[in-house]
Symmetry: C2
DNA sequence: TAAAAATACTCCATAGGTATTTTAT
DNA sequence: ATAAAATACCTATGGAGTATTTTTA
């Protein structure tokens, strides 16, 4: 008889490709995991991994089993979530992932609202780039994520929360900020400062200024908008700044000038995404509403 | 932690709507099953069934869990089948369902071929009407079924095996069998003898002779073609006989006359069907080939 | 009062841990 | 020689069975 335990351990093994680390990741000893894998192989009647060939490899059978195990474990999470979904909205644990260009500006406002309105919600947070939190969401390590939508990932379901327009942030004395009818095409490639690779805001800025050849960009590995803005304030260049990131401190900074683009204004839509079919979809939509409210 | 055991027992309970019978159906004692259900309710944090209200009912949560449990258990069967699919084709156990209008004519030929060519195949058989064996297939009680295709059921995958034309079987002296260019329209409703309700052959005959008003049929609850043919031989009427059912005994019966319809000949296609996505699809296609060969 | 499910209690299978050995680079 | 997985052995959890009680229709 196949057990969930066997599938969980085998899934861990398929990810870690290492008995010891897989055992760690599910919180048991290496022999305990070995035994369950052995047991699973016995009931299936074939080996799932090729041992002791330096790197551990899945057999063809192992690969297929791993794939199906993943899906079964995900369905099982769905069952566990069913109960949570039946309870009052936004109660219990929720693990939320947020992209770095949003987290610092959204969370200080979102947190107070949620903890006041949903006192039984226990929110865990994770801040990482889209690719990482999407993977963690699919793996079940997160329950919902706040990203730029649409994600075009058929495994996700999403709800738009807010439109986040891009402004041009330039040094106060720069001529780039002079005109009133500025368009993304006016942004000069060699003065544009962007976040490091992998940050969706970087890609969005590049696609908005689609005439810019990424090769002409001055490479800049900043991972926070605050750093970028400090660079802009110091006269090092300009950047595309999401409206969401504009707080009092930025608005009052005499060294910065913020210019709204002419229509159609460039920007992005932020939304909440979750695993398609999750029974807690109602919760996630309530979360979306809360986000729309605080922004 | 939810276990497969809990889902299996709960699935049984959802079907049986009775703790004792559910326990029987999974081969454990009633307290053992009760305990697992209780455990599942505890981890989900809500009750799944309404006890002691005469008839046992599923709660709303219970209904959803039952649905998902079914699907998880089915996926799990898929994993178990993976190993079987990797082994040599058509080995191990296969539970086959066959409709009654096919079984007696197909199996005597199919069995010897299969046991000669695939000595490691352990075939279990079930003969019942389409609706029943389709449900048993979906529930995992059967692995494959031989039915009239297409079934138009998206949960099934199927492969055509043979075309089975309908002949008119009439009393030897009847004038209905006189002409050479006979069409289904020539069949008189009040002389047509059919299998009992639920048999697909009955429906097929009616749809072939679509001008016949079912209300004009003489009700006849036969469940085997042999009985019907005995009635025809006794001059009680005519019937649509699948070619597959024509053996030497029928052909030589002096009281019967078999007439082939003019083109386009009415008939049905028989095929093998299985759960969509089953890893043993290759086995089932091999079974189809064997059927096509013996007919 | 009769049927159905829950509880009580005992037993045993099995998962898990630690220590150790085997195996493969 | 070293890292990784398997084996040995012991412990403890928990699932199952039988007997019995509680519940409710």
């Amino acid at each position: 008889m196949i057990t969930i335990r066997q599938l969980r351990y085998f899934d861990a093994l398929a990810r870690a490709r290492h008995f010891g680390r897989a055992a760690d990741s599910v919180g048991v000893s290496q022999p305990a995991l070995s035994m369950q894998i052995r047991e699973l192989e016995a009931t299936l009647g074939g080996s799932l991994v090729e041992r002791g060939s330096g790197q551990l490899h899945l057999t063809a059978l192992g690969g297929e089993v791993a794939e199906r195990a993943k899906s079964i474990l995900s369905d099982l999470r769905g069952v566990e979530e069913l109960a949570a979904a039946r309870a009052a909205p936004l109660t219990g644990q929720m693990r939320l992932g947020v992209i770095p260009s949003v987290a610092p500006y959204l969370l200080p406002h979102l947190f107070p609202l949620l903890s006041e309105r949903y006192p039984d919600l226990r929110l865990s947070l994770r801040e990482a780039i889209t690719e990482d939190i999407v993977n963690e969401l699919k793996d079940g390590a997160l329950d919902a994520i706040v990203i730029s939508v649409p994600s075009d990932d058929p495994a996700l379901e999403e709800a738009d929360a807010v439109r986040d327009a891009f402004l041009l942030a330039a040094p106060a004395d720069s001529e780039a900020a002079g005109g009133e009818r500025i368009t993304p095409a006016d942004v000069a490639a060699d003065s544009l400062l962007l976040l490091a690779d992998g940050h969706c805001l970087r890609d969005q800025a590049l696609s908005v200024c689609h005439m810019i050849d990424p090769k002409r960009l001055r490479s800049f590995g900043a991972t926070s908008l605050t750093t970028i803005l400090a660079m802009v304030a110091a006269g090092q260049g300009v950047t595309l700044l999401p409206e969401l990131a504009v707080d009092e401190a930025v608005r009052r900074d005499p060294r910065l000038r913020l210019v709204r683009f002419a229509d159609p204004q460039p920007g992005r839509t932020l939304g909440v995404a979750w695993r398609r079919g999750s029974p807690r979809a109602g919760d996630y939509r309530a979360l979306r509403d809360a986000i729309a409210e605080v922004v």
